[in-house]
Symmetry: D2
Subunit: 115 residues, 4 copies
């Protein structure tokens, strides 16, 4: 399905907002704020759960729907913010993973254990 490509979805989100004349609301500041609010709605699902209940969250269909829905909302605002700031999200993430590999090198024993 050709839609399931991140660049295509990102373009659909930007076009969707433009078609509704929402661009004037979509400053980087407002999008960052909306992203934080959505991340918080995702966290709310988990706030009173034990670690064990949280690991099992997707076995409850209503909670599973909410998790999936809020994950989509977070990604939607992240991609809109990235468009507004002209950040390539996949390149930014690849760079970050490389920085983290230097920052948290695996110990010798861990490497040995993994061959």
């Amino acid at each position: 399905m050709e839609d399931l490509d991140i660049a295509t979805l990102q373009k659909r989100l930007v076009d969707f907002a433009a078609a509704r004349d929402w661009e004037r609301f979509h400053t980087p500041k407002n999008l960052a704020m909306a992203l934080m609010v959505e991340a918080s709605e995702l966290a709310e699902i988990f706030q009173w759960l034990t670690p064990e209940q949280s690991a099992d969250v997707m076995s409850d269909p209503e909670k599973a729907f909410r998790v999936r829905d809020e994950v989509a909302d977070v990604l939607a605002y992240l991609l809109q913010l990235a468009s507004a700031c002209e950040v390539d999200v996949l390149a930014a993430l690849a760079d970050k993973i490389e920085r983290n590999e230097l920052r948290f090198p695996m110990g010798r024993e861990e490497r040995k254990a993994r061959g």
Copy 2:
């Protein structure tokens, strides 16, 4: 560059955590909390800026680096949470866009204006 595919990056993140024995920390609850903390660090960059300054944030190299870095951190925790909950982020987003298109239909005049 073969790394710049979302599924490949998601797998690298999961392997990175597993190699460091961080899986026991990575319950969905903790990952949702970490995601919210990172979204908040991204918002912090913008908190005292005017709308105009926020639109121009990427012209400051130090702020531009931070935006890119925090966007990567948000995406990293979102993908790790999605892995832990077995959510396909791109399918979830495509579904959400479709629900939003039904929820916020374009008015007749907007359609006309856009041909």
Copy 3:
């Protein structure tokens, strides 16, 4: 009205939770998470507003009710977290103000301008 004392309100909140057997949910971690979620619901009221609209938020009765309600929720979780961690919120704030006065001293001209 004797209720309008912070220590009395804090005790009422703790008793309220204990009476409903909610203490097992009220770990410092969960209360910190709930506090963040409530702070986010407060921020949500402002997310698409211009600075000018935000300054005028209380002139809209429905928004004014929400602001007041979410301010109360944030304070409620903050006081419950403080009880769980045995933090005296007013002493902590007084100490912080003193540290900030050392960290951000007023310039000579500002002092002069203010006599």
Copy 4:
């Protein structure tokens, strides 16, 4: 100590910002955003802790300092936002507790158990 009164501390915070000419930054929107960022810094202390470790957080002097410091920051922004919106925080909280007592009444058995 006369400083340890919420109204006095609130006035000191407002005067502190005014003396530094920070009022132009302190729109309700920006203060709500800063409040959320501080709530998130408080939550960050707990993000990888187990429920048991979180209950014991104050036994670690460095973490105890951070908890106390971030609790103060959250309260500081909450009081500044309340000043900007002319919300009486203690009255708002008392009202909310009353609404919650109607919304979550104690069951007959709970009342009996408590005499």
